[in-house]
């Protein structure tokens, strides 16, 4: 049996175990799954944003050779509504959400009919034979107009497009502090809609076992455990007859934190037809039918003293729900509600969010989910306040942030930040960035009237992640808990299986959980296998989202491993005929204090337990252990991001010249994985600032409907990132870790836009709507300078 070398696994940049199969594709992506007799689904989708369905006739499709069956919305009448698990207020408007539309379509992409055929091609072709008569209804697209009394209604039976109003007022009355403020600034920011782009599209396969009424659902999902519960509730298939498998999943970013109509339909049709079925979306179908992210109008107001001390903050948010409420749609802006005060101290906070129905694809979680929006608004207006009171934006932040000696600190919105050191992260970032030198260069270039302007943007963020303490979720009216499960199976030959309730889709859990377990158990990294993503082999879990997996699930692995050691200690003490208290445990070896030759490895203990020939009296013959962890708090990563941009005023093009981030994600299990998460997060945050937007026309059609029109940046479009860390351990979990999955996305968007506005402010531009495309920047410059006659962009000197 192999023994440990003594080097700790935690903190090592282990190459990821899972990469060989993920990178080569030699694995069970859902769409790779083929079974005998498989039928293929294709879905006809509404070409209109809003219309009454006068007639649907699938019979012409049925006449096509190879078509097995076809269905309309009425054929699914026995299914329950698709679920919304987060009704944020008592009086929230909860419209029914049929998997296939019945009398009315409410967004371009709403399913209208389903065709089942022997192959995918036949199914897709047969959609063109389905006859549908639509009677157009007015689209509902503008969030403010949607709330007017005479607005057209997305759900006429509900009498309003107002889904909910969610208020939060803490500290002093905002109006009171506003009266004593020297400076009051009010801004409106737009969070454009974004379309998640996981590399693997959504896909689902359902195989029925007719003899026992059992079904296996394979789905490219982030949430196999939640999905199992929800599918049972929506379809009536008993939960114990349902097995849900998330095979290897190629990314999600929140878009697979969902219970989709296609999953429900696939299960229902496998049941009705008694045949296995598959549905896989195409990219452009996904753009219509996979939920979107962001989509908010933010009215934000700060009240401050002349010296730049924040007194109060008021936020009025309009959040676009889209046409229906999906799994956690209403909760997304509420996750942001707590984050507007960010790292700053103040006396009053007043927040209101109004959820609004529109005739667009439903919104839901997208990397960061509510927190990037909040961080953007507060970090943008902090820059505006700095200008207003004549301070450097970093200095303004220093005057307002929570000092490192003040932790734990209860924020104005009621969160208890357990740890942090904003000074350390900021100082490190400023030094790496060369802040003072860049400011000097900027001043020189502004003075010379250079046609290429330099701008510097800062974002000092924190975020709440590691969802979540179950009692907090109860208070927020979220239907489920926030615990996570881990169990450890010590195999007779000394190998280890770690069973986790998290469901990785690219994060590297297999590697990190192995590192954690290997250290606690004192076994080699290679001897640990991580089992996940199958409700049969990993029966309990709350899955992966909200940067929770390490903080909750990884910590649960740690606790379970400690329980294994505790049990093994009893067996070892018995075998060594020593008192438990006299045993030491180092690098997987139990030994008697003072006589190191008296030893048993944990692997030997595992085998002794398997044979059970000589266990302590009354002991169960196992050292396996399980731990369910309900976290006591969120985790609060923070950091300072600095961005320098150059803007070509002739073309409006923004180029990122340098990007420095210093993140504090607490203790680090695997540095190279953290680095990867930061890089990907930065890419997605920069993408919102510069590139991505779901564009709709006046009729509610998605104009940016393919990857040719929806611009996902690639490596050539992004700068070199300079990343570094400070390490202030979290106190709320034994590993000292904080989530890192969303931090880069949350921090980077305002850093980039602050830099753009910083570059353009001397030219009269005070805001640019995202994405800050070259055309928008140029138009902003043109309108700011329209007083000057004949301006065509600064001439190159």
């Amino acid at each position: 049996m192999s023994e440990r070398t003594g080097e700790r696994e935690v903190g090592r940049s282990r190459p990821r175990k899972e990469d060989a199969r993920l990178v080569t594709g030699q694995t069970t992506w859902t769409d790779n799954i083929g079974v005998t007799g498989l039928l293929h689904l294709a879905i006809l989708r509404s070409p209109m944003a809003h219309a009454r369905i006068e007639r649907v006739d699938v019979t012409p499709a049925l006449e096509r050779p190879g078509v097995v069956a076809a269905f309309t919305g009425r054929d699914f009448a026995e299914l329950a509504s698709l679920p919304c698990a987060w009704p944020v207020t008592e009086d929230i408007v909860l419209p029914g959400h049929p998997a296939v539309a019945v009398d009315e379509v409410r967004y371009a992409g709403d399913p209208v009919a389903v065709v089942v055929a022997r192959d995918r091609y036949t199914a897709a072709d047969a959609l063109e034979a389905v006859e549908v008569d639509y009677e157009p209804l007015p689209p509902v697209l503008d969030l403010e107009a949607a709330l007017a009394n005479d607005a057209s209604l997305v759900h006429a039976d509900k009498g309003t497009n107002r889904c909910f109003v969610w208020p939060l007022a803490t500290g002093e009355r905002y109006e009171t502090v506003r009266e004593r403020a020297d400076v009051v600034l009010r801004r409106r920011y737009h969070q454009q809609r974004l379309i998640p782009n996981a590399m693997e599209p959504r896909s689902v396969v359902v195989t029925p076992l007719a003899t026992s009424g059992e079904y296996t659902v394979y789905s490219a999902t982030q949430i196999p455990h939640v999905l199992r519960v929800m599918l049972a509730m929506v379809t009536g298939v008993p939960e114990h007859k349902l097995r849900v498998v998330a095979p290897d999943v190629g990314g999600g970013f929140g878009s697979k934190l969902q219970v989709y109509g296609e999953e429900v339909i696939a299960l229902d049709l496998a049941r009705r037809l008694g045949r296995p079925v598959k549905w896989t979306e195409s990219r452009s179908e996904g753009y219509l039918a996979t939920h979107h992210g962001r989509g908010q109008i933010q009215d934000i107001e700060v009240a401050a003293t002349r010296e730049g001390r924040l007194l109060g903050l008021k936020v009025d948010l309009l959040a676009d729900m889209g046409a229906y409420l999906m799994l956690v749609t209403p909760g997304i802006p509420i996750l942001g509600a707590f984050m507007y005060p960010a790292i700053y101290k103040m006396d009053a906070y007043d927040f209101t969010c109004t959820g609004v129905f529109t005739t667009r694809t439903p919104t839901d979680a997208y990397r960061g989910a509510g927190r990037p929006e909040a961080t953007y608004a507060i970090e943008r207006i902090m820059d505006e306040l700095a200008v207003e009171v004549g301070l450097d934006p970093v200095e303004l932040r220093r005057r307002n942030w929570i000092g490192h000696e003040e932790f734990p600190y209860t924020s104005i919105s009621g969160l208890t930040y357990d740890s942090g050191n904003y000074e350390a992260a900021t100082d490190k970032a400023l030094a790496l960035f060369g802040y003072d030198e860049l400011r000097a260069e900027q001043a020189k270039r502004n003075e010379s009237g250079d046609s290429v302007r330099l701008g510097i943007g800062v974002s000092t963020y924190t975020e709440m992640c590691g969802l979540a303490p179950s009692r907090v979720l109860r208070d927020l009216r979220y239907a489920a808990g926030g615990w996570e499960a881990a169990s450890i199976r010590m195999l007779p030959t000394g190998k280890v299986e770690v069973v986790t309730g998290t469901s990785p889709h690219g994060q590297g859990h297999e590697t990190c959980w192995s590192q954690i377990a290997a250290d606690v158990l004192g076994v080699p990294f290679e001897d640990v296998e991580v089992v996940h993503g199958d409700t049969r082999s990993a029966p309990q879990g709350m899955d992966t989202y909200g940067s929770r997996s390490l903080v909750v699930g990884g910590a649960a692995v740690h606790h379970a491993a400690e329980k294994v050691v505790d049990k093994a200690r009893k067996v070892a003490a018995h075998l060594l005929e020593a008192d438990e208290r006299d045993l030491e445990f180092t690098d997987g070896v139990f030994s008697v204090k003072g006589s190191p030759e008296e030893r048993r490895t944990i692997q030997e203990v595992a085998f002794e337990t398997f044979s059970s020939h000589d266990l302590p009296d009354g002991m169960e013959p196992t050292i396996n252990a399980e731990h369910l962890l309900d976290p006591e708090n969120f985790s609060y990563p923070h950091g300072t991001h600095l961005c320098a941009v150059e803007i070509d005023t002739e073309t409006g093009r923004t180029s990122i010249r340098s990007y420095v981030c210093v993140d504090d994600v607490g203790k680090v299990i695997n540095p190279v994985i953290v680095e990867g998460q930061v890089h990907g997060g930065l890419a997605q945050g920069i993408a919102q600032a510069l590139y991505e937007e779901a564009v709709y026309d006046d009729e509610g059609n998605l104009v940016s409907g393919t990857m040719a029109d929806y611009l996902v940046p690639g490596a050539p479009d992004l700068p070199e990132f300079t990343t570094d860390r400070t390490e202030t351990p979290a106190t709320s979990n034994p590993l000292g870790v904080k989530g890192v999955g969303e931090a880069g996305t949350i921090a980077s968007t305002p850093a980039v836009v602050n830099a753009i506005v910083d570059a353009l402010r001397p030219l009269g531009v005070h805001d640019v709507r995202m994405p800050c495309s070259p055309g928008r920047v140029w138009e902003a410059l043109r309108s700011a300078q329209s007083d000057r006659s004949g301006w065509e962009g600064a001439e190159r000197s």
Binding site: Y121, T651, G714, P716, S773, P774, E792, E795
Partner: protein, 286 residues
């Protein structure tokens, strides 16, 4: 996405292909590298009954010299165009522009002939063909005919090719640096692999520190690629200051389309700025 059903045939020769096209009439589409046609099929924007795959017809690939011109087979891939020593020596503009087309995977499959015959005004190579005064050689039932690039691009995705004609080669007059020619392709796109928002192909001949002759091809400034004729005239004899003045007329006579986030005025601005930059770079004055 899944294309609509179509018949597929793979002719062995140009004659065979032309005959097939003549029989099929308007219902056939020619498939070469597939980088433009396949997306149209998959998005169900094109519904041909017959796809004629000419990709394996022998003799349509490669570059040869014919007197004062290069003759480039229509099936030569972008990658092969970029790497070809003759192209690099005698038609550097073409190599430079082809290197900006999409990404490496597409450049290994997409062909010069396919790109020109597709006639997307946002494609990079049509404007380059215009600037190079290239000639396009088509074969139809009546035999071969030569179409000057200036007459080839008729409208958005429409060329002078008849349904029964196949583009077989592209003739490019030599514009070598040893003869005083300089070139540059200035492409402005939102992300690296995207189409040009505007592109400017500049080919200039210098004499005694000023520009003797300039040819400017504009990408995406109308429903076809265009020559910036007014700017070309103003560039004759220009020094660097003269280039800046001449570039102001680069958008004259163009009709750029507007789309979300990109106004026609903005495209005109880009044409002017990029023309100045492209010409200065081509003339070594930058």
């Amino acid at each position: 996405m899944i294309p609509p059903a179509f018949e597929y045939t793979r002719p062995r020769s140009v004659e065979d292909a032309v005959r097939t096209l003549a029989d099929a009439g308007e219902d056939a589409k020619v498939l070469a590298g597939g980088q433009s046609l396949l997306p149209l099929l998959r998005m169900r924007l094109a519904f041909p009954e017959l796809v004629v795959d000419v990709g394996r017809i022998p003799g349509l690939r490669g570059v040869r010299e014919e007197g004062e011109a290069l003759v480039i087979g229509a099936l030569t891939t972008h990658h092969d165009v970029i790497a070809d020593p003759l192209v690099r020596r005698h038609a550097g503009l073409l190599a430079a522009a082809a290197a900006t087309v999409a990404d490496p995977a597409i450049r290994h499959r997409g062909t010069l002939g396919g790109s020109l015959a597709h006639a997307d005004p946002g494609g990079d190579l049509p404007a380059v063909a215009l600037a190079l005064d290239a000639e396009l050689v088509a074969v139809g039932p009546e035999g071969q005919r030569v179409v000057p690039a200036g007459e080839f691009f008729v409208d958005f995705l429409q060329t002078a090719l008849r349904p029964d004609e196949l583009l077989v080669e592209v003739r490019v007059p030599k514009t070598g640096e040893s003869d005083g020619w300089g070139f540059h392709y200035e492409k402005f796109s939102r992300v690296a692999q995207a189409w040009a928002m505007v592109g400017v192909a500049a080919l200039v001949r210098r004499e005694d520190g000023h520009i003797a002759e300039a040819r400017i091809g504009l990408t995406n400034m109308g429903s076809t690629p265009l020559r910036a004729s007014a700017a070309e005239e103003a560039l004759a004899g220009a020094d660097p200051d003269g280039v800046a003045r001449a570039a102001q007329s680069a958008a004259e006579g163009t009709r750029p389309a507007a789309e979300p986030g990109v106004s026609a005025e903005y495209r005109a601005q880009l044409a002017r700025v990029l023309t100045r930059r492209s010409v200065l770079a081509a003339a070594g004055m930058g």
